[in-house]
């Protein structure tokens, strides 16, 4: 059976703690750019926690929303790429082929979610910080666009392992780094082609919504609203 990877983010569980943000950096060799470049808007966070203030003191509320590539089924980033670096995989991922990318940045321009990040310079890991790099994930060089991959290296490793062991993938067995680190289990990952998987069931929840649904991008990520606002 082919897979279609999807995610559910339960906003009623999310505490905004940012464990996912650092997990993503650690897993995917995302560089830190330093204060000067960060001040120029060049910090790279494939996954960020957005916060929305509502109301005025003392009746004030703040809501968190982890935002990462929504892995759209009708992705605005894909058709604009002149080199097919940004393309759709058979398993529903918006993939980015780094060595095809020529840095037009059209995809980042087209993305409705602001989740694509451009390498304005070659990343630097001051030695021996390079020892933390994950050998399963390629490093990106200057002039290349990068983004969340749903930890495709983990998907590949696990599906190959399952195949070698001649068995089916168990629901919940495969987790991207963000979901694995989440203390409150707010992030769930799985196969949307399996109607019984936890992500399939929860994405049909009455609390479910897609981010900027009205744009028609058909994301593979479903957000579950807090019950108070459902």
């Amino acid at each position: 059976m082919s897979h279609r990877w999807g995610m559910v983010v339960d906003l009623d569980r999310c505490t905004g703690c940012e464990a996912c943000v650092v997990a993503c950096h650690a897993e995917n060799n995302i560089p830190t750019v330093g204060p000067a470049e960060a001040a120029r808007g060049r910090a790279m966070h494939w996954l960020r926690v957005e916060r929305y203030w509502e109301g005025e003191f003392p009746d004030v509320r703040l809501k968190f929303r982890p935002v990462l590539c929504q892995q759209c089924n009708a992705a605005p980033c894909e058709p604009v790429c002149p080199t097919y670096a940004s393309h759709h995989t058979e398993e529903g991922l918006n993939a980015q082929v780094y060595n095809r990318c020529i840095g037009t940045r059209y995809c980042a321009n087209a993305c409705s979610y602001n989740v694509r990040f451009f390498n304005f310079f070659n990343p630097v890991w001051e030695k021996p910080l390079h020892l933390q790099l994950n050998p399963d994930v390629s490093l990106r060089e200057v002039g290349v666009m990068e983004k969340c991959t749903f930890c495709v290296q983990r998907i590949k490793a696990k599906t190959q392992q399952v195949k070698a062991e001649n068995r089916e993938l168990k629901d919940g067995e495969l987790k991207p780094a963000c979901a694995q680190s989440c203390p409150a289990t707010a992030i769930l990952f799985g196969d949307l082609n399996d109607p019984e998987s936890q992500v399939s069931r929860l994405s049909r929840s009455s609390r479910g919504e897609k981010l900027l649904e009205e744009l028609g991008t058909l994301p593979n990520i479903t957000y579950l609203k807090g019950q108070a606002e459902a």
């Binding site: 330093g34 204060p35 960060a38 003191f57 910080l129 694995q180 289990t185 807090g226």
Partner: protein, 742 residues
């Protein structure tokens, strides 16, 4: 000759040939023989212990091969070895259950930090100059031994002191044993956002001098008084896991959550109802809720038990705490107090939490005792959905109890000859974490011989005479005994995940070594040849293989801390403790309450040197690499302060400058600042970055425990300049700003 030795020999001779035939041997790449236990491309998962806080979470260390620049026998070269690649939560660990917080994941950067101290150092310049020179390990240890022998010769063993961070572990036990048997006091522990007040209150109310564990997963209603339990306080990963289940883990039941605090914390942002309360009146609100519950007979009057009896007027139904009185004192409307009280009593199991700023006052103990009494009244102590205490094993007893940091510093400064002659610093940056009035820097400078075991130069270790750098936690045996977050007594333990990168030595092993080298060996002797053998002995042979395999083990058979420990405080009512907040500074001159808070990235600043955490956007503000002062929009408007403008915060004790951050989540009469930045010395990533709110705090302490009252200072604020560009926000810069291309 086996294969391994053959290869070694050829490598060595090959290297020698290259050296001989080449004009610039130092430019040659020497490749040392790699270890044989390597499998290229295959990751190995080893257990680990998160070293950052006393939660004691278990980690899984992903270990793979890498080429490491190294020095072997004085020769620089490259060796292929197993190194840690990533830290993940240990899925079997009862506390963190497979998850790991942002800080824990960044801890790997401690091992690979470019500014780690790689070998022993000895002071060359003046004290505090930061001018050090390398020294051999044997010579360095001989120097410390000579200093200690000198103390013994003059019968001044008690003038050895050690400052460290709190947290139960075999490592801490070993340090305590070393000091006690040498004849010195137990290590002085300090933490800016420490929990001494709550521990003392729990001892008085429940007979347990310990931090509580909350069964939120089964709670239907939780009210928290200033406790940042989802972000930085106590065991945040365990608490967030329980919180997730409280919200969405039960069919048809979603637990409600109320947070009372004057500045919205990360935890407060998740609350259904956020109650802006006047600083320092949290205990009053708790007793107001209890008043309504008692008046309306929503709970049995005697449910308060021992915890209730500690509160004056409890048996009479707390007549001084009517909703009208509460409204006047706390700013929370009387009708709201009535409603919250009913919800608490009716939506049981319900639970109350208190921590952080409410306890950092002269009357902190009163505030904690009030919330303890409320929990007892709600029937939430030791019951599902309530608060309980994790079984513990007794720590090694110290013959001479530790003295508080403030008192030690004061003694050093008061005497002509410092009562501390040799000071051991173990990972505690006391200069950064204490208010100017404690004069800790001066005190450290007055100690004749200061030794630091830390891996980095920070504001305190830069004052040392000798630096004996510890291994990174990933390179050594580590352990922790969690105080909270699980239902069984356990110890988290792990062996080295990788070989040391540098000429460092594990501090516990250094202590064991010194104990043997003293002229007059300490008695009873510390007989273990190395720290891992001590660990093994403390855990027991049966449990050892389980412990080392899974990274933690349940500890049984040693009982719980004796309830009798509570006797010394029992029966002491509230009659003689402070019940109202006292703020340092005149209200007319200093119109604002000043609230430093534990930052989500750095907590108190001990991890401010890690670049992942510097660049992690703060969840509430999206600020990175920054310090800031949070100001209510109305206040800012009134004072003509714009977002990002540089402001100066002044108290009677000091000033700091930082950019203003206009925030709707803070009371108009409160100014808040995240702790963690403002290091003078702390590696290339944190030195000279931002400002330290602790440097404006008054020296006030909690009246009974002597803990630093860090939320009890008043300040004024002045705009001093235009935005200086140091407030860097991720959220404000999602679309690229206009700028000229480089």
């Amino acid at each position: 000759m086996d294969r391994r030795n053959f290869i070694k020999l050829t490598a060595v001779t090959g290297g020698a040939v290259t050296l001989a035939s080449c004009g610039n041997p130092e430019h040659e790449l020497i490749r040392f023989v790699p270890d044989e236990d390597l499998t290229p491309g295959l990751a190995e998962l080893k257990p680990g212990v998160c070293p950052l806080c006393s939660a004691g979470c278990g980690t899984t260390v992903r270990v793979m091969q890498a080429d490491v620049d190294t020095v072997r026998n004085g020769q620089a070269g490259v060796v292929t070895m197993s190194v840690a690649k990533k830290l993940e939560g240990n899925a079997t660990h009862p506390v963190n259950q497979g998850a790991l917080c942002a800080r824990g994941q960044a801890a790997i950067q401690i091992a690979y930090h470019p500014d780690r101290i790689t070998q022993p150092l000895k002071r060359r310049g003046a004290k505090g100059s930061g001018d050090f020179q390398p020294i051999e390990w044997d010579a360095a240890i001989a120097e410390l031994v000579a200093q200690l022998d000198k103390l013994t010769a003059s019968n001044a063993q008690a003038s050895l002191a050690c400052w460290t961070r709190p947290g139960a572990s075999a490592r801490h036990d070993l340090t305590t044993m070393f000091l006690s048997r040498f004849g010195a006091a137990a290590p002085t522990t300090f933490e800016l956002f420490g929990d001494d007040v709550l521990r003392r209150a729990n001892l008085m109310s429940f007979g347990r001098e310990q931090l509580p564990t909350f069964d939120l997963a089964a709670s239907r209603y939780a009210i928290s008084f200033g406790a940042d339990f989802l972000g930085t306080w106590n065991s945040p990963v365990a608490q967030a896991a329980a919180y997730g289940r409280m919200r969405q883990g039960r069919r048809g039941v979603r637990g409600a959550f109320v947070q009372a605090e004057p500045r919205m914390s990360l935890t407060g942002a998740s609350a259904d109802e956020w109650v802006a309360i006047r600083p320092g009146t949290e205990g009053v609100l708790a007793l107001g809720l209890a008043h309504v519950i008692l008046r309306e007979k929503l709970r049995p009057a005697d449910a308060g038990g021992r915890a209730g009896a500690l509160v004056d007027g409890w048996s009479k139904g707390l007549p001084d705490y009517t909703p009208q009185a509460i409204e006047q004192k706390t700013g929370v409307k009387a009708a709201r107090v009535e409603r919250l009280a009913r919800e608490l009593a009716e939506q049981r199991p319900s639970v109350a939490l208190i921590a952080g700023a409410p306890l950092a006052h002269a009357h902190g103990l009163f505030q904690a005792l009030a919330v303890n009494a409320l929990n007892a009244l709600l029937g939430s102590v030791g019951t599902p959905g309530g608060v309980s205490f994790m079984p513990q094993v007794d720590a090694a007893a110290a013959s001479r109890p530790a003295r508080p940091l403030r008192a030690v510093a004061a003694d050093i400064l008061a005497a002509d000859k410092s009562p501390v002659q040799v000071l051991l610093l173990d990972r505690l940056n006391a200069v950064h974490a204490t208010p100017p009035g404690w004069r800790v820097r001066e005190a450290v400078l007055k100690v004749p011989f200061v030794v630091s075991f830390g891996s980095f130069l920070d504001d305190t270790s830069v004052l040392a005479d000798l630096i004996l750098p510890d291994h990174a936690f990933l390179e050594s045996w580590t352990d922790a005994r969690p105080e909270s977050g699980a239902t069984i007594a356990l110890t988290t333990v792990a062996g080295p995940a990788m070989k040391p990168l540098y000429q460092t030595r594990a501090t516990p092993d250094v202590l064991l070594d010194i104990a043997k080298k003293l002229k007059q060996p300490i008695k009873p002797e510390l007989a273990w040849p190395s720290f891992d053998q001590m660990l093994q002995a403390s855990i027991g042979e049966d449990a050892w293989s389980t412990a080392t395999k899974q990274g933690w083990v349940e500890i049984k058979g040693k009982g719980q801390p004796a309830d009798s420990k509570g006797q010394r405080s029992e029966g002491k009512g509230q009659g003689d403790i402070a019940r109202e907040a006292v703020f340092d500074g005149d209200a007319a001159q200093y119109p604002f309450y000043f609230l430093p808070y534990a930052s989500q990235a750095f907590v108190d600043g001990s991890v401010a040197h890690l670049p992942w955490l510097q660049e992690m956007p703060d969840p509430m503000s999206t600020a990175m690499w920054s310090s800031w002062v949070e100001i209510n929009p109305q206040t800012a408007g009134r004072l003509g302060i714009g977002d990002g403008d540089v402001v100066e915060i002044a108290s009677a004790h000091g000033t700091v400058r930082a950019p203003a951050l206009i925030s709707p989540g803070i009371a108009p009469d409160v100014l808040a600042m995240p702790a963690g930045q403002g290091h003078e010395t702390f590696t290339r990533y944190a030195s000279g970055r931002g400002s330290n709110p602790v440097k404006v705090l008054g020296p006030s302490v909690e009246q009974v425990t002597g803990a630093l009252a860090w939320a009890a200072t008043r300040v004024k604020v002045t705009r001093v300049g235009e935005p200086d560009g140091t407030l860097i926000r991720f959220g404000g810069s999602l679309t690229e700003a206009e700028h000229t291309h480089r």
